[in-house]
């Protein structure tokens, strides 16, 4: 089953009359349980593509079907609801609430969900366990190292068991050791829990943890291939 189906997707930014063509004619399908890496140099449109797929931005051309429904048919509130329950986000800059604890940060998406409050604690603890941060659960986010922060962000993305996790350069701000831990966790989520992962990176060695690499250049798909020598269990991760 296709989670994501995109046909002829295009995006033109209009900045005070100056039009920039960020994406054009992008067509792709992503199946449930797939681990896809999107690669490309700066300005290739990979972040724009992720933002459109993650419903953080509108597309200007083409059609985007998420879980077989055209997203043009949803209103703002329904889109917020999809982002909440069906999608998880991991950003390069972590984006945690600095003065809140690990547990509070992980609980944040639950605040906007339909889950009753009694279940929140258990769900959040489960997600923190998943990323191996139980020993830090009551620390404030600004007391953590970069790698730990990103693990909190992953736990936050996981807490509502979403269909897709979008990871935008998750290892970009990390040293190679922390980066390896993060990419291993992401791979584990895909292999063991069956989460669909869409990873953006400009590093080939990170992308090779995925099953499939889509390369973008100047807003268009350059190639879309299976990874031949897929890295597993983080062996050989060198930055």
């Amino acid at each position: 089953m296709n989670i994501i189906q995109v046909k002829n997707l295009g995006k033109i930014y209009d900045n005070d009359g100056i039009k920039t063509n960020a994406l054009s004619g992008v067509s792709l399908e992503i199946k449930k349980g797939e681990f896809v890496a999107i690669m490309g140099p700066s300005g290739s449109g990979k972040s724009t593509l992720l933002q459109i797929l993650g419903l953080l931005d509108d597309h200007t051309h083409g059609e985007y079907r998420f879980l077989d429904k055209n997203i043009k048919n949803y209103n703002q509130e329904e889109i917020a609801n999809i982002r909440n329950s069906k999608m998880g986000f991991v950003f390069q800059a972590f984006n945690l609430l600095p003065k809140s604890t690990v547990l509070e940060n992980v609980k944040l998406p639950l605040l906007y969900s339909d889950h009753p409050e009694e279940e929140w604690e258990e769900m959040a603890i489960k997600a923190v366990e998943e990323v191996g941060l139980m020993h830090r659960i009551n620390h404030e986010a600004n007391q953590l190292s970069g790698g730990e922060k990103q693990r909190v962000a992953i736990a936050r993305a996981l807490v509502l068991s979403p269909e897709v996790i979008f990871a935008d350069e998750p290892t970009g701000n990390l040293d190679s050791k922390s980066g390896q831990i993060i990419i291993e966790i992401i791979q584990k989520l895909n292999k063991e829990k069956g989460h669909t992962i869409i990873l953006i990176t400009h590093e080939t060695y990170t992308a090779e943890y995925a099953e499939r690499i889509i390369r973008l250049l100047d807003g268009q798909i350059e190639s879309d291939k299976k990874v031949e020598n897929r890295k597993l269990d983080g062996k050989g991760f060198v930055k």
Binding site: D57, Q76, N81, N95, Y112
Partner: protein, 414 residues
Amino acid sequence: MKFIYSIKTATNGLRTHKSRSALTILGIVIGITSIMIVMSLGDGAKNLILGEIQGTMGSRVIEIRPGKEPKGPSDMMGIMFLDSLKQKDVDALRKKANAPTITGVMPLVVGSETITYGSETYSASYYGMTELATGMYNMIPVEGRFMTNDEVKGFADVVIIGSKVKEELFTDQNKVLGEKIKIKGRNFRVIGVLPEKGQGLISFDTVVIIPYTTAQQYLSGKKYFQHIVVEADSEKNVLRTIEDIKITLRNSHNITNSEDDDFSLGSQADALKMVGSVMSVLTLFLAAVAAISLVVGGIGIMNIMLVAVTERTKEIGLRKAIGATNQNILTQFLLEAVILTGFGGIIGIILGSSLSFFASILISKFGGLNWQFTFPYVAAILGLVVSSLVGLIFGLYPANQAAKKSPMEALRYE
């Protein structure tokens, strides 16, 4: 998202920026505090003056003044020289057939003279009254006694003096009763001293009271009265008595049209009503001036909230990315503003009422006034509502700015 979580989120947001939140509400705190103080002190002053009127002039007392209903200060001045109230009016009012509910009629003669005792002199007002003044104006001497009916009828040269007069005139404060003082060269025997009332709107501390007969005959030399004071048998009959007085006086003065009345009536209720409304208007005016600070405080809040929204752009982007709707973000920031100002309002109410409480203690202690502290409930409730409303109004624009942000742009914001 349940409302309770919105409140929790908002209070968390405020708690992370404690010192800024405190500075932000300062304007609201000052505004509400000053409104509370103005309202509380205004109420206190009103109660003090009303209390003095009630304490001085009985509720069954009706004052008849010569001349038309006074319309301004110049009319008031003229009353002293109008001669429309005469002995025949007093006689007419005393007839049960004319006004059955009247229990007492007292003519009033007012003037001022220099009073001497030995080498001491004092300039005071004299009131020519009858024995009925004890009930009508609550004139109970602390020393000696009041005048009797016989002394009034007999043109007696007796005087009851105010506490200040006693203080100024006599070197030996214990040798006052029975002493002779001179008013306009005539000897009067001191038979009583009135209690000290302190400074106030109405005070008998600086006056001397003598029989009106004596006052008319030997001091003023005039055949008319400045006032006639009437007492009704009960409070509920005051209105009926007023009507009876009007008819009696019109008959006595041969007036057919009420517009030609050459007298006017005043009761305690009238005086209370007038003073009360003047004081209320004054208090409201001062409160309105104080309320300007609320607007200033509100603009301050809007300013800070706009800064906060910009500063927290990334947080807004993140919240939207993980599922917050525009409504959620709007509610969060609006609630932050309302909780902030509401809290400022509560602090202002506490601060304002404690300050006016201390002020009332100081006034009664050092001002020598019987000042009662009143907690202005209306101002408190109004203050809370208004301050929250200020938050709502001035928070709406920043909150809307926050809610409108596109999640992608917000996340990218540096």
